[in-house]
Amino acid sequence: MSRISLKVDGVRYDDDVDPRTLLVHHLREHLGKVGTVVGCDTTNCGACTVLMGGKSVKSCTVLAAQADGQEIETVEGLAGKDGSLHPVQQAFHDSHALQCGYCTPGMIMAAVDLLAENPEPTDDEVREGLEGNLCRCTGYQNIVRAVQDAAAVMRAEVPAPRDAGTEPMEGTRGTTSPAAEEVAR
């Protein structure tokens, strides 16, 4: 057993862990942080992505012992203490960037890291930046849109949108799409 100390979503935890314990299993099974999930066993899907020292890591590919002394942030710690959503969470909601939601914790954390690295990405850069996170439901289109919307909010170019409510979201009535000219381009 190894003695480790982690700060997870602002709370310090000191534990003895089996050296083979993965960070994701430590989070889920010992600390009760079940918001972070496991989707594969080969580091491909990214569902378990968390921030470690501010950088995104796949927590299935980090041993708990390796994380000793680190600060970990999961999707559960992203919202403000008052419950206010992080701009990326809000944008995922507003843009319908999730369906079943299983990839979402990892996808959101990867997007947070992506925007920290590149606050003004192109659509292609968003796609490349999220390459390590698989989603089976959305086809990624609304995820790209959400990340761009969040980026704009985080650059403070546009005010944070409120829940779209009964107002049709832009572009969702009838023609949900850019016009033919954009296609031709």
Partner: protein, 801 residues
């Protein structure tokens, strides 16, 4: 809407953002794997490394000595109690339904088949103990290919059955009285297109691995499972194990995707059920991704021989389909029926005067196949849409023009097809015109011609797919005539609480489809309550006692109709109460804009909430009125739902490297009236992505010994964000005449439509090189080989000017 100033904003049709998201974006979810119960044991399952072998020795004894192990058992240990996995759809009277023990007893028939289970205090102890189990296998000959399996003297997957043939199912329009004879049509045809297409094997690859928790400690044994079908699962547990149905409760908590892959009753669920009963303690089993890919059911895997007869003016005169469908080693819940769902769809949107379909199901030493998004209909649509493009090329006709000459015209609906279905409504003209406009069809054709002329290394291809599908499964009597073991109705109930808040209980079981949002919109409109005041309950046989779950694009098409009817009954029960409160005759009331109003004096109004409070106190109800507004309804559709649409894909194909890039993708779908356009668009995006994935990336493959070569996401290429294009989606709206909201199904449409659009575009790009097909997935190597093969030995007549 009239008198809108008085009423609430209509919810149906509004792009409401989702109720479900609040928990999903903050990590406050209840996945099955998150569940921990007092005293819970963790299961690990030993799986066969052999594709076909006799188990000559199996001893779990050493595993029992390992630390933390509470129990371990093999198939032989539970042979008398574990039962046989059910198949609910033997499609013919003589369909071979082999014994299918959850834990193999004497013989294993595919790699990954469960052979023993360990229950331990934690997951790691259980997995460690698997290594201590002693097991010896005597290898048996393996048969993997379908044609090989049907050959004489082929090794038998099930020796006791004497054959690898599961069934042969035929449809002939002569016998059905719906059309002529395909042989005659072929003999008289001016043009005959014969093609063979292979639908490669796919893996559903939902993101949440399957997981099951069983608690045997209550009066009811409770099973939580990552399933699409909690109600069917409960029934099957009862029927197979003999446990009385009322002693079993099944819960599908948050479920992370399914796509048909969780439309299954799994050996793992039964193994966990038995393990919980034997140990008397709660147990949990969560599979790894590799387990999922090895032993969760696969999809597709068919060989299609297509014969299309036509006149030179493009009029189609006959269609004959011969299908081989790989069942795998065993039959899952609807394995034999999947290709039969396609039988009614090969004729697609076209007016074929003669049609014949023959399908043979084949056993092989592979993981079983079963439903995967579209289930039979993507395969059918692919074959016909590819063949129509081939016919267009043969006739040197524009592929859209060829389709126009043959499709059912808007004014011809409802239209009874050669395959006996009555298509309810459609407007193929409108969807196609809109798609061509968004796509810039003519400009792209001009660019294609220019690139061909200049001999550009990167050629442009345009792929067309005009599809329809039958969904909204399904009219019960039709299912009965196809020998399916259950009906196709759906149930909904509505509870009006004393404060006027509403609980909707649905028999559908969402796992990403947003029922909590969409059903709230429907109930809000029907009852005149706020969207926020509706709670949708689902996926627990204790709260939602009756239902047939979610698959086959049925939830809104069937379950949504049930909900509308349940709400209508609430309104009718409230009517005499409202009349009493307003001191008028019930006949003088109309329910408009969310309240009962006296005709002619709309300012006097009583809401459902007013009535529910009156019901709660019951101090002053009219004589003989039951003090309840709660209602339920079970809806059995009279017909399927037939969404349709036109998808256009432009690909750029590098003729030197074989690399394919989707340049643009336009989808115009008609799914009838729409409850929530945002949700519909999301369903289409995801569906199209999965169809593109079949066209370009995904294939489950085995080596010659039957080992799955694509057992993880390293080898099985589920596309990531950079692998998929931006999609342009739009809709036309042709209401479904038989549905109270005019809605049709949408869940499978994108997947059904997109695969042929992409492959048609690739082949179209390469026609000047003599290429007439590229096998899926169209990876660069295959595209490159297709070009090389065509150049080296272009078949006569395939070279086009």
């Amino acid at each position: 809407m009239t008198t809108a100033e008085a009423g609430p904003t209509p919810q149906v049709g509004a792009a409401r953002s989702r109720k479900e998201d609040a928990r999903l974006i903050t990590g406050r979810t209840m996945w099955t794997e998150n569940i921990t119960l007092p005293g819970m044991l963790h299961l690990a399952i030993l799986r066969s490394p052999m594709a076909h072998a006799r188990i000559t020795h199996l001893d779990v004894g050493p595993a029992l000595e390992a630390p933390g192990v509470i129990a371990a058992f093999s198939g032989r240990d539970v042979a008398d109690v574990q039962g046989s996995m059910p198949c609910a759809w033997p499609v013919t009277e003589d369909t071979v339904v082999p014994d299918y023990p959850p834990l193999a007893v004497d013989e294993v028939r595919h790699t990954g088949e469960p052979v023993a289970v360990v229950a331990a205090r934690d997951r790691a102890s259980a997995m460690d103990a698997l290594e201590a189990i002693e097991v010896d296998y005597e290898p048996l000959p393996v048969v993997l290919g379908m044609e090989e399996a049907l050959a004489e003297n082929a090794p038998l997957v099930h020796g006791d059955q004497g054959t690898n043939k599961c069934y042969t199912w035929t449809f002939d329009s002569v016998q059905a009285g719906t059309g002529g004879d395909v042989a005659a049509a072929e003999a008289d045809a001016e043009v005959v297109v014969k093609r063979r297409y292979t639908q490669q094997r796919l893996i559903p690859a939902f993101m949440e691995p399957r997981s099951v928790v069983v608690d045997p400690t209550g009066d009811q044994i409770t099973m939580w499972s990552a399933t699409q079908i909690p109600h069917i699962l409960r029934l099957m547990l009862a029927m197979v194990t003999g446990i009385p149905e009322h002693k079993v409760r099944v819960v599908a908590p948050d479920v992370g995707g399914g796509f048909g892959g969780k439309l299954q009753v799994t050996p793992e669920e039964f193994i966990a059920f038995v393990a919980a009963q034997r140990t008397g303690r709660p147990v949990k089993y969560t599979e790894s991704r590799s387990d999922t890919m090895m032993s969760g059911h696969h999809g597709r895997d068919q060989i299609q021989d297509v014969t299309l007869s036509a006149r030179r003016d493009g009029t189609v005169t006959g269609l004959s389909i011969r299908l081989l469908a790989n069942m795998g080693a065993y039959l899952g819940i609807v394995t034999p029926g999947v290709p039969i769902l396609g039988a009614f769809m090969y004729n697609a949107i076209y007016k074929f005067p003669a049609y014949r379909f023959e399908c043979t199901g084949v056993f092989t030493n592979t993981t079983k196949t079963d439903a995967y998004r579209g289930a039979g209909r993507p395969e059918a649509t692919f074959a016909i849409e590819r063949a129509m493009d081939e016919l267009a090329a043969e006739l040197d006709m524009d592929p859209i023009e060829l389709r126009r000459r043959n499709w059912i015209k808007h004014e011809e609906f409802p239209f009874t097809t050669v395959a006996t279905l009555t298509y309810d409504s459609g407007n193929y003209e409108a969807a196609t015109d809109r798609a061509m406009e968004l796509f810039g069809y003519d400009a792209l054709r001009r660019e294609q011609a220019e690139r061909r002329r200049s001999g550009d290394r990167v050629q442009l291809g345009i792929g067309v797919s005009t599809y329809t599908e039958m969904c909204g499964l399904a009219p019960s009597r039709v299912l009965g005539s196809l020998r399916y073991g259950a009906g196709g109705w759906e149930n909904a109930s509505v509870r009006v609480l004393p404060t006027g808040k509403v609980e909707v209980i649905t028999g559908t079981s969402p796992h990403g489809q947003s029922h909590e949002t969409a059903w709230s919109q429907i109930a809000a409109d029907q009852l005149g309550v706020a969207f926020e005041d509706v709670e949708v309950l689902h996926g627990d046989t204790r709260t939602s006692p009756k239902g047939l779950d979610t698959y086959g694009s049925r939830s809104l098409a069937v379950g949504g109709a049930a909900l509308v009817h349940a709400c209508e009954r609430v309104v009718e029960k409230a009517r005499p109460i409202a009349a009493h409160l307003l001191e008028c005759d019930p006949a003088d009331l109309e329910f408009t804009d969310g309240a009962f109003r006296v005709r002619g004096t709309p300012e006097a109004a009583k809401t459902i909430a007013d009535c529910s409070l009156a019901v709660f106190t019951s101090h002053d109800l009219p004589e003989g009125v039951e003090p309840s507004l709660d209602s339920d309804a079970t809806y059995d559709p009279a017909n399927f739902s037939f969404p349709h649409g036109t998808h256009l894909c432009a690909t750029e194909v590098d003729t030197e490297t074989g690399r394919v890039r989707i340049r643009s993708y336009v989808a115009v779908d008609d799914v009838g009236r729409v409850v929530n356009p945002t949700i519909v668009e999301g369903q289409l995006h995801g569906g199209i992505a999965q169809g593109i994935a079949q066209a370009l990336y995904e294939e489950a493959s085995y080596d010659n010994d039957g080992n799955l070569l694509t057992g993880s996401f390293v080898d099985y290429l589920v596309p990531g964000a950079p692998d998929l294009p931006h999609m342009v989606t739009d809709r036309t709206e042709t209401p479904a005449p038989d549905h109270p909201l005019g809605a049709k199904g949408v869940g499978e449409a994108g997947t059904i439509a997109s695969t042929p659009a992409v492959v048609n575009a690739i082949v179209d790009a390469l026609r000047p090189y003599g290429v007439t097909d590229v096998p899926m997935p169209c990876m660069p190597e295959r595209v490159w080989r297709a070009i090389r093969d065509a150049r080296e030995g272009a078949p006569e007549g395939s070279e086009r000017s």
